[in-house]
Symmetry: C2
Subunit: 237 residues, 2 copies
């Protein structure tokens, strides 16, 4: 039975099977080895994620433990508490605590599963004013890059405290020249290069914990391994 | 627990999570309702598909029956028996019989699962000579459009005999102006428009058997349904 990798997060995960999306790229990369399973919930913060964890990941799922889970929250937690998306805001100390809780629930359910935290991306505040998700009469962006940075830093430090890997997307993306347009489509969600960065970082971190195309078994014969003079031999036993 | 749709087939299925691929589009479309699970095996014909069916779809998978399975074979069965890819060829009568066997195995395992046959696409023979998969010293394409058409016709008639839906991709694609370049990338595999056609046809056929975004339940609250003045209310019970 083919093993699974879950990708768990907010809209940046939910939309990751769109054109050029990092989730689809991951599924394509592991097309003969792993089922990449989408658990993305647009608008969710870590507080709501905790509320749905038992439904999104039923303990009685019957299957084996997944190989890995990416946990990619913070972009909504980091909405400012006094701006138009305040209902999604989660205070920084609670965000930290919620990530700890999510990790410990997963670790209890599946002790051998690799958990990979992904920080929120940087924010382009001008673009956030140009592409509002809800009515914004204040003339100020509902998210700032500074706030996203604080949540990203917290995410990375929670990972370190738990001894698990993290991707500091906030820092990584800002190293990319012209990141606001190359990496982001509306100041928050991912454009082509942003998706490529997430995909490549996830692949690299998975490789570092032993999960790669070289190490994972292909469950059924590859066409290149089938003997043209006796194809059915590959399908014996 | 979120229901599944399996997509089962050859390389045209295996590669369907690449950029703009029909499998990724399907997963994106159903991102909050269905897990789209990839079971694509490059180079496989129906004879080999039958050999691996019990491993690709373990009866003891623990999960519920999938909502649907797409069965998309024939492009390799239709390789000509006297050309360079002869080892993949399956005679037309056996192709028919193998499709019947695959359908009856699925129907026995999961009586309520919707099975959807997809015919092989048309072939652009010039492109097949330009982009060989194996050494081709004969100067003749290993697949012809005429042969693909015969297998497509057989696929559609098997579906009718079994009372299940089918997509006649061979006919459908040839109605598209400039189909050789618009629909195909190398005379066989799908280019952007080809992927779009498969995605739209699959969505339409699923809708006809009652599987659509309107009829399938979303398993967790959508952001648009969450009350900003009391978000946690949506997560009670």
């Amino acid at each position: 039975m083919r093993p699974k990798i879950y990708i768990f997060g907010d809209s940046i995960t939910e939309e990751s099977f769109g054109d050029g999306g990092w989730g689809a790229s991951l599924a394509h990369h592991f097309s003969r080895t792993v089922d990449v399973v989408l658990r993305g919930y647009s608008g969710y913060n870590t507080r709501w994620a905790l509320k749905v964890l038992d439904k999104a990941f039923p303990a009685a799922d019957g299957g084996d433990a997944p190989l890995a889970i990416t946990v990619f929250f913070g972009a909504n937690d980091a909405c400012l508490p006094d701006r138009c998306s305040a209902f999604q805001h989660v205070p920084l100390h609670e965000y930290r605590q919620n990530l700890h809780s999510i990790i410990s629930i997963f670790k209890k359910q599946w002790p051998k599963t690799q958990i990979l935290l992904i920080s929120p991306p940087p924010i382009d505040e001008d673009a956030r004013l140009k592409f509002p998700y809800v009515e914004n009469t204040m003339g100020m962006a509902e998210r700032t890059n500074e706030a996203a940075g604080a949540y990203a830093k917290a995410c990375v430090s929670v990972a370190a405290e738990c001894g698990i890997p993290a991707i500091d997307l906030w820092t990584k993306m800002q190293h990319y020249p012209g990141w606001k347009n190359a990496c982001l489509s509306d100041g928050l969600h991912l454009a082509h290069t942003g998706n490529k960065i997430v995909f490549e970082e996830v692949i690299m971190k998975l490789r570092e914990v032993g999960l790669s195309l070289e190490s994972l078994p292909v469950d059924l014969p590859l066409i290149g391994d089938i003997d043209p003079s006796n194809p059915l031999k590959s399908f014996e036993n």
